[in-house]
Amino acid sequence: MASSIRVRATSNGDITEVQTLIQHPMDTGLVKDAKGELIPAHYIQELKFACNGKDVFVANWGTAISKDPYVKFSFKGAKKGDDLTISWTDNKGASDQTTAKIA
């Protein structure tokens, strides 16, 4: 299966800018489906970015993050070609992980 995580990490030499798009329903647990039954909450709780063995960015999310979440941040201390590892865990215990090369 293709990864749920899409990343673009670009370095300008000093600063690495990371843009991430994740495929996830991010159900709040408050919305009803077509049959009028509540869709149970299903959302990503934790999203981590690690580079060179160190966490560079950690997101804790609630249900108010939009479906198919997007997040952008930048960090220092990495260079082109370094690996950036992205992993998430949701409230049902599911998780996914991917590694991207910094371009």
Partner: protein, 161 residues
């Protein structure tokens, strides 16, 4: 033969007494909130709280002061409450976390981001908004809390699907 359906009345009274004493004892314990921003654990409790002030307290354990060094960039009017792009930037030093609160959402805390050393204190994301509401960004810098608030008008709520 007599059937005893329950404990002796006096014993029951004593047990009830013991239970209420225990409950009162619990009530007197000082409330120790888990300061999630300070450690690595997911702040489950803070995300469950409805009220913005309660959620800030549960997450950070103190209140924030408004600061013009925190810049919250969010639209004046959001046509679709399901996807409201917003971002925070700050000129403050030693930033360790940035959090987003939407006052009128069912649960005020939307997201909390941690910034280790070397990460630029800025983040962009997309939030759901149930209705028109104040959005507050809180920046934790050098152990202090700074905030910026902006009202975002929502024409279609984020909870209708």
């Amino acid at each position: 033969m007599t059937v005893h359906t329950g404990p002796h009345p006096t014993r029951r009274l004593i047990l009830q007494g013991a239970v209420s004493v225990a409950l009162i004892g619990l009530g007197n314990l000082p409330f120790v909130p888990a300061h999630a921003a300070a450690n690595d654990k997911y702040p489950e409790e803070a995300f469950k709280l409805k009220n913005e002030a309660d959620a800030i307290k549960a997450l950070y354990g103190r209140t924030a002061e408004p600061s013009d060094k925190v810049k919250l960039d969010a639209p004046e009017i959001a046509e679709n409450g399901g996807v409201v792009p917003m971002s925070v930037t700050t000129t403050l030093d030693k930033v360790s976390s940035i959090s987003f609160f939407v006052a009128e959402n069912p649960n005020a805390l939307a997201a909390s981001y941690k910034f280790p050393d070397g990460t630029i204190p800025a983040v962009a994301n997309r939030l759901k908004m149930a209705k028109t509401s104040n959005v507050t960004a809180i920046v934790e810098a050098d152990g202090k809390l700074y905030s910026a608030t902006k009202e975002v008008k929502v024409t279609v709520g984020g909870c209708g699907g």
